[in-house]
């Protein structure tokens, strides 16, 4: 079991989006060109991408309980699953576990998109651009998969997103402490009139690295209770075929991507 975890407490989030900006600042990621709001309410951009490793989703207000309307504002990034689909499907072992975190090794990534398809939370994305940040670091590489790396690439003690949260909506610490705190929060929320309050991420994919406290049922926030785990037999078969084919690709990414496609169809992993 992972040692550390993130907490996202939506019942304390003020929606300042300091987390979204801090991530871009720390990593030197470019701002996205948006128009109006591309997601619900103030959500911008609409989804996570190679350029946007965390974002804040403003769900439409739920007035079904007139006395207690709920307007949920939720920080979302890679959930860092313990049994990560993306890691399991990656044919090049470019996605690996660094301490508790699921990280993409850009040198190994061939841009096959397996991880993009496998992630039920729609987290990783292949970058359309190269981007060098102010520190001279090639932070985005074209055709490679990018996502949150829990500030393990540009390492810091507390991840950038957590460090700027003004309202205790985000924490980073020992998993057991985070769980204990989250459980106490759920108890308080139930007493405050939110009977469906819960913690998301205790069980999914054998435990997520990001635990989310919610005032209402997780499904309402596009967080499946029983998300589909990739078929390990099939992915292993694909990877076996790929291992064979890739020896003929001379390390050329385009050929590697083609090899992966062929492997997938041969092993009927679709």
């Amino acid at each position: 079991m992972a040692e550390k975890a993130f907490l996202v407490d939506t019942s304390k989030c003020q929606g300042c989006r300091g987390c979204q900006v801090a991530c871009k600042q720390w990593n030197g990621l470019p701002g996205e060109k948006t128009e109006f709001f591309e997601g619900p309410e103030y959500t911008n951009p609409a989804k996570l991408s190679a350029k946007t490793w965390n974002h804040v989703i403003f769900f439409p207000i739920d007035r079904s309980n007139a006395d207690r309307p709920i307007w949920t504002i939720m920080h979302k990034k890679c959930f860092h699953c313990s049994e990560a689909n993306c890691l399991n499907v990656c044919p090049e072992k470019a996605i690996y576990r660094l301490d508790d975190w699921v990280v993409v090794d850009q040198d190994k990534c061939i841009g096959c998109g397996a991880c993009v398809n496998a992630c039920v939370y729609k987290v990783p994305e292949l970058s359309e651009i190269n981007h060098v940040n102010d520190a001279g670091q090639k932070i985005l590489k074209r055709d490679k998969s990018h996502k949150c790396n829990a500030c393990t690439l540009n390492e810091r003690e507390i991840p950038a997103c957590v460090s700027v949260c003004p309202s205790d909506a985000m924490r980073f610490g020992y998993r057991q402490d985070i769980i204990k705190h989250a459980q106490a929060r759920v108890k308080v929320l139930k007493a405050e009139g939110f009977p469906n309050a819960n913690i998301y991420g205790l069980d999914q994919f054998k435990g997520l690295g990001v635990l989310t406290v919610l005032r209402d049922k997780a499904e309402k926030y596009d967080l499946p209770l029983n998300p589909a785990v990739v078929d390990v037999v099939k992915t292993e078969a694909t990877k076996d075929v790929y291992a064979l084919l890739s020896s003929f690709t001379m390390g050329i990414p385009m050929l590697k991507r083609a090899a992966y496609k062929v492997s997938k169809s041969i092993s009927k992993d679709a």
Binding site: K12, Q20, V21, G31, Y42, N44, P166, S167, E192
Partner: protein, 795 residues
């Protein structure tokens, strides 16, 4: 703020009205959340369901511009059910004071009204005095002329049903708010009220705040930990700017700006220094002459002598009130030759920006000093004008940002914190201080040269005789420490030489032997050094989060003002768990006590800044009445259900503004304006930043599902919003967080707009202040940005 940010966590009930603190004061909200973690409750009253509402225990809607009605129903509920802190009210407020029997109130009008001038003669609002000249009191609160009885009668008209019809807030919600908030009337239960521009920016702005004060006094919440009236200032140093007199009607330390009728020092003192015969009153403003004369000594040095009224004549005297709106009206009439805009962007931030842009066209020259090109600096190339026809010469001066200069910043809680220069600014940018310093020294030189050459120069003395020394010998830049030391003040010996720094204002004199730039800051930089730079993190003995060794707070490092009201006449804390000060019989413990440590609680009244020494439930000093009364905004969809006057009778609408007043027939929806966390004020500092533009790239408004349906507008559609003053383009955010109000039996819709956009910077958009009216409060002259009339159509 009477209290400070950290202290919010001590509240049992936090009442946020006229503020979206979670959005616009994110750090303040950290302490609101702490209060909730400690079992406190949060009430939020707002026209929209906001980020603040999303974390509140109790949310209630309110139609913009109806705060007085809303709050008065709570005050009435407290009075009718006797849910008041009786001991506090009798001892520490003017509830028991008897008012002139000639005082009357009828149909929205108080006695003394001159309908021609739209002003009040306040004679009948005065206290009845005994033969010693002390106000008469009836501590049984039964006399029909006592404030308590007058107020009970005044507020009983505000019952929940009527107030619901005015505000659009359901009766049930009003009752819940009233019940929860009045739970703080118990001596050891405390509530705080946090407000911002949603309260102030109305033609009844000051009286809106009065309703909060009245409620806080009735609850016994002033001076307490977790209590007070807490204005959330809109910028990081706007507290400092008002402290130092950057408004039209005050000079540093909240002294009155002299007017033409204040012909000399003696007259000024006669007009503005209050007197009392009550031995229980400290009447702190009796010290005003010391503060003014010390300020003149700081400003004019050896040229300020007893014989010349200490240079009082050098101060400009206003011949008429010149608030923001009047200044631009004057400008549009060609009465100004030039203007300097530093850190301000009026073509986005001012009311009726079309009028403002036409006004600045009349200037010969204009200086914009900012860290970016501002919308104001490029007013001459706006849509629809030919730059060739604009004669104004525009100078854009590059300034450093807040982290590229050293100095102090005063936050809303009056904490004045010193900060350091992190790095040099880019290119030729300089600090505000250096700009002012250089500008003044060059102007002074021009005056001196002309005087020397025997040229006829108008009023050279205020410039040539100024005591202006902010550079070390041989330096080319001003030193902020020298400014801070002058603000703190210093002794002047008999030979006129500068002596030691003043310890604080308690030792200030009115004979020219002390100099002080701003009395309330005296003590901030004394012989012990720069107190504002202190970073001690030890709490005080009362353990309520005052951290008295962190930075410095005016006055005299007092963290909670009116703290004498936190104890009874014996000096025992009303709330022993969260005590602020206590009297041991010979000394005070805890916070720095108000009004000096010598006087015990039985000897002096706690509200030291009023001449009576007590809090005013009935306030005879305001321009529009001693009690708050509901009036409608200048532009409104509703008739006034409280009396037969629509607009506040104390408000005068200028001839220019009168020409552009919209009616509900043409503009059927309420317009209101506000900010979002991603952009800063008029936007010149944030609309150039790609990460922030990613989050909020465009001007948008928020409308309800029902208005969207009626107008055929879908979420994300482009719309045109119009008022009697102009029309703007915007995107529409259709949201169920905005709902129509049921006002006087009919449904009323609102169009809420952000005001950060303008034509400059990387991301551009129309300014919603094109739509806002140039009319303001009769006491503060703040414009009515928060309630006006608009129409909206799909573009």
């Amino acid at each position: 703020m009477t209290n400070h940010w950290i202290d919010i966590r001590n509240a049992d009930v936090v009442f946020i009205i006229g503020s979206n603190a979670a959005e616009n004061h994110p750090i303040s909200f950290k302490y609101v959340q702490e209060a909730r973690d400690r079992g406190g409750k949060l009430i939020n009253v707002d026209p929209r369901f906001t980020k603040t509402s999303s974390l509140a225990d109790l949310y209630a809607p309110i139609r913009p511009g109806t705060d007085i009605a809303f709050m008065s129903s709570i005050i009435n509920y407290a009075l009718q059910n006797d849910l008041i802190q009786k001991e506090y009210v009798v001892e520490y407020s003017n509830a028991a004071y008897l008012i002139n029997p000639a005082y009357k109130f009828n149909d929205g009008i108080f006695s003394g009204y001159d309908s021609g001038k739209r002003t009040y003669e306040k004679e009948t609002w005065k206290y009845q005095l005994d033969d010693k000249g002390i106000p008469k009191k009836d501590k049984t609160l039964k006399d029909p002329n006592c404030v308590y009885q007058l107020m009970k009668k005044h507020f009983e008209r505000y019952n929940f049903e009527k107030v619901s019809a005015i505000t659009g807030c359901p009766v049930e919600s009003l009752k819940k708010v009233a019940e929860l908030y009045t739970s703080t009337h118990k001596p050891d239960k405390v509530g705080t009220i946090m407000y911002a521009m949603g309260t102030t920016q109305h033609t009844i702005g000051v009286q809106n705040i009065r309703t909060y004060s009245i409620l806080q006094i009735l609850m016994g919440n002033m001076g307490m930990a977790g209590g007070g009236i807490n204005a959330l200032r809109g910028e990081s140093n706007v507290q400092g700017s008002t402290d130092h007199g950057l408004l039209w009607h005050i000079i540093p330390g909240y002294l009155e700006a002299p007017k033409s009728k204040d012909v000399n020092l003696e007259t000024y003192i006669k007009n503005y220094v209050p007197k009392t015969n009550d031995p229980m009153s400290m009447n702190w403003w009796q010290h005003k002459p010391k503060y003014l004369i010390s300020m003149l000594k700081a400003w004019f040095g050896e040229n300020a002598k007893k014989e010349n009224d200490f240079g009082y004549d050098y101060l400009p005297k206003a011949h008429k009130p010149v608030p923001y709106m009047a200044m631009f009206e004057d400008m549009s009439k060609g009465q100004h030759k030039g203007a300097i805009f530093m850190g301000t962007n009026p073509v986005v931030g001012g009311p009726n920006t079309n009028m403002i842009m036409k006004a600045v066209e009349k200037l010969d020259w204009m200086i914009c000093a900012d860290i970016w090109e501002t919308d104001t600096s490029i007013f001459w190339k706006r849509k629809g004008v030919n730059p060739a026809n604009i004669k104004t010469e525009v100078f854009l001066l590059p300034m450093v940002s807040s982290v590229e200069k050293e100095g102090s910043v005063a936050n809303s809680g009056r904490w004045t914190q010193w900060r350091y220069k992190a790095q040099a600014g880019p290119g030729n940018s300089i600090s505000d201080l250096d700009l002012i310093d250089e500008l003044f020294l060059r102007i002074k030189k021009l005056y001196e040269d002309d005087v020397k050459a025997g040229k006829k120069v108008a009023l050279p003395d205020p410039i040539t005789k100024a005591n202006w020394n902010y550079r070390h010998a041989g330096e080319h830049e001003a030193d902020p420490h020298m400014v801070a030391k002058e603000i703190n003040g210093y002794h002047i010996d008999k030979d006129g030489k500068r002596g030691k720094q003043l310890e604080n204002f308690l030792i200030m004199k009115d004979d020219g032997s002390t100099a002080c730039g701003n009395w309330i800051y005296s003590g901030s930089y004394n012989e012990d050094g720069n107190m504002m730079a202190r970073r001690g993190s030890k709490d005080a003995s009362n353990k309520i989060g005052m951290y008295p060794e962190w930075s410095w707070t005016w006055p005299v490092n007092r963290r909670i003002i009116y703290n004498r009201a936190a104890v009874n006449r014996k000096g025992e804390p009303f709330d022993p768990k969260r005590w602020v000060v206590k009297w041991t019989g010979s000394a005070w413990k805890g916070d720095v006590v108000d009004g000096g440590a010598k006087a015990g609680p039985e000897a002096k009244n706690p509200f030291i800044m009023t001449a009576e020494g007590i809090a005013r439930l009935f306030a005879p000093a305001l321009n529009d009445g001693p009690f708050p009364e509901h009036f409608e905004p200048l532009e409104t969809v509703a008739r006034n259900l409280m009396n037969s006057h629509q607009l506040n009778p104390g408000v005068t609408v200028s001839d220019m503004a009168k020409k552009e007043v919209g009616s509900a027939a043409r503009f059927p929806y309420i317009g209101s304006t506000y900010r979002v966390v991603e952009h800063w004020q008029a936007g010149a500092m944030t609309r150039n930043l790609p990460w922030l533009n990613e989050l909020v790239p465009d001007m948008f408004c928020e409308i309800s599902l029902s208005l969207a349906k009626a107008k055929g507008i879908k979420n994300g559609d482009k719309v045109k919003i119009s008022s009697a003053r102009g029309v703007i383009d915007s995107y529409a955010l259709v949201t169920d967080r905005v709902q129509p109000f049921k006002v006087d039996g009919k449904m009323v819709e609102m169009v809420g707009m952000i005001w950060h956009f303008g034509q400059g910077c990387e991301s551009t958009g129309d300014s919603c202040n094109t739509l806002t009216p140039s009319v303001g409060d009769p006491n503060s002259s703040i414009p009515e940005y928060k309630a006006f009339l608009v129409n909206i159509e799909k573009a």
